[in-house]
């Protein structure tokens, strides 16, 4: 007993200290600033699906369609007949496209408007009865739709292109949500382990296929198609495909999605999700987002465990917390770049850049 107590003391005081988390706990608490929220709990605890801008007006898909009026959000009125829910939105030019569901969550199809009041069904035959519109994408001023369909107990993802008022099927064999980029007269389409390329949206050929990883997003960044994966890598095309080493935390690869770029910094959302490949089933380590500096490099990991911490990330952690992101997008409002982040079950947030500095994450309110 006499030996045990000093040994215990020594063990407790000197031997126990672990390093867990990119942000210090006390540092995170100390950096909090009070958030005044006057909105509803429903909006506060929502999971936003998309934020888009049309003619300087912001729209959000948060179960249904919302429109920003001043500093607050309000539910859009004058929706199409029977429209109760919205699943996705996209904008080309001055036209807003929204996929609506009725009160029984049956798909009503995709509608468009140029004035928020008059809605026009885009293609009354779309989607098919056994499909649901999951995502609308606007690339190269064209509208694409991603639907899901149950096939033999599994979810099949289908990609359509809006052409002359009709949605035309493009690739019907996706295993994950599709993502598109348009660079140098070429469309890059990513889903699952594959990136296809096409110049005419009729003929596709495989450009890159991964063996034990899968793409979550592809976009045009710095004039290069840039894709991120579920196991922490960033790929970009520059004559050929290049990739970073996997970004890790606690020796586990991050789950990356929804990259956006501003001022030579790549913002990439990370989520804690269960992911599977043929050989691995694991939970990715952190939720939130990371920042990567350009130029990207193939010879080293862009950020390691220690350098995942950034000032912006600290503020993010102190406000949004460690919740996963449902969306991350960059929208320029009145000439000011603004990051909008949808947090899973924790509402919509924004971070505006003024004079080169990010002002910090603020909760959006209804």
């Amino acid at each position: 007993m006499k030996r045990f107590i000093p040994a215990l003391l020594i063990l407790i005081v000197f031997a126990v200290s672990c390093d867990n988390g990119p942000v210090g706990i006390f540092a995170s608490i100390g950096s909090e600033s009070p958030i005044e929220y006057k909105g509803t709990e429903v909006f506060k605890k929502s999971t936003p699906a998309a934020v888009v801008s049309r003619n300087g007006t912001l729209y959000a898909v948060i179960t249904t369609l919302w429109k920003k009026n001043g500093n607050t959000w309000e539910k859009a009125t004058n929706l199409p007949s029977q429209a109760m829910y919205a699943t996705s939105a996209a904008v080309t030019g001055t036209t807003l496209y929204v996929a609506f569901l009725d009160s029984n969550a049956h798909s009503l199809g995709v509608f468009s408007t140029t004035d928020d009041s008059n809605w026009t069904p885009v293609d009354i035959t779309f989607p098919a009865n056994d499909e649901q519109v999951q995502q609308l994408l606007a690339v190269n001023n064209k509208v694409f739709a991603v639907t899901t369909k149950a096939v033999d107990g599994k979810t099949q993802y289908n990609l359509y292109h809006l052409s002359s008022g009709s949605f035309v099927s493009l690739i019907r064999t996706g295993t994950n949500l599709f993502s598109l980029a348009y660079v140098g007269s070429t469309y890059y389409v990513a889903s699952g382990t594959t990136i296809w390329i096409s110049t005419d949206l009729a003929n596709f050929q495989e450009s890159l296929t991964l063996a034990d990883d899968f793409f979550t997003s592809i976009t045009s960044i710095g004039g290069k198609p840039t894709a991120v994966t579920a196991f922490g890598k960033v790929y970009w095309h520059e004559g050929g495909w290049y990739n970073t080493n996997a970004l890790t935390k606690s020796s586990k690869n991050l789950y990356l999605h929804a990259p956006v770029e501003y001022n030579d910094t790549l913002f990439v959302a990370t989520n804690t999700v269960v992911r599977k490949t043929s050989s691995v089933t694991e939970v990715s380590p952190i939720a939130g987002y990371i920042e990567l500096a350009f130029p990207l490099s193939t010879t080293k990991t862009q950020r390691d465990d220690n350098s995942l911490v950034t000032a912006t990330n600290t503020v993010f952690s102190a406000t949004i917390g460690g919740t996963a992101l449902s969306m991350l997008t960059l929208i320029t409002e009145n000439g000011k770049p603004t990051l909008y982040a949808g947090s899973v079950g924790n509402g919509l947030w924004s971070n505006r850049n003024e004079n080169g500095s990010w002002l910090g994450w603020q909760r959006e309110t209804d």
Partner: protein
């Protein structure tokens, strides 16, 4: 709900100790009258005595010292609900040595949940002011912390005093006032902070 739970815990401690004190009252009276007859000065504590405390109270974050800037960050914490268990043994009639484990349930100003669980050894020196006593104490140990999905373990030192009243030989009521200091270290030194917390805790202490 939390207030109700806090109230319930405090009431349980107080009621339990009062009932125990009442049950022991006749025996105590006899012992005291016998003791009064033979020993005029009655010492509350003897070597080998054990104190077991059930405590509940609150704690306040005072601030986080940032060694990088040399300034204090605001604590940004609402007062906690705190529970504490301690077991101490008198090594001499004055020196008491034991251990403690506590749970602090904080909310930040934006309602993030911060949990703090210090586990450590405590040493004190008892001043016997029968039926009152004061025990200045020092505690040393490890504090396990959790904020959202972040966890950490750091050493802590707690200095303070226990102010007690013994209505009987078996039970006493105490108030703890402690200043807890937790230096928090990270491999990224810009995240290092030293947290300061003030405890105000009431206890029912069983003396056997």
């Amino acid at each position: 709900m939390r207030r109700f739970f806090v109230l319930l815990v405090i009431l349980s401690i107080v009621c339990g100790s009062v009932l125990l004190a009442q049950e022991q009252a006749p025996e105590q009276g006899t012992a005291q009258s016998d003791a009064t007859a033979s020993i005029p000065v009655f010492s509350q504590f003897e070597k080998g005595d054990i104190l077991f405390s059930l405590s509940a109270g609150t704690a306040f974050g005072l601030g986080f010292f940032n060694p990088t800037t040399g300034s204090f960050d605001p604590a940004n914490l609402k007062p906690s609900f705190t529970i504490l268990l301690s077991l101490q043994r008198f090594m001499t009639p004055n020196i008491v040595l034991g251990g403690e484990i506590a749970g602090y349930f904080f909310s930040t100003i934006n309602d993030r949940q911060f949990f703090l669980a210090p586990l450590g050894a405590r040493i004190g020196y008892a001043f016997d002011l029968n039926p009152f006593f004061i025990i200045p104490t020092v505690s040393l140990g490890a504090a396990i912390m959790r904020l959202s999905d972040m966890g950490h373990i750091d050493p802590y030192i707690k200095t303070g005093a226990v102010f007690g009243w013994s209505p009987s030989q078996e039970i006493c009521y105490t108030i703890h006032a402690d200043l807890m200091t937790i230096p928090q270290f990270y491999s990224d030194s810009s995240q290092n902070r030293t947290g300061l917390f003030l405890d105000l805790i009431i206890s029912a202490t069983y003396h056997f």
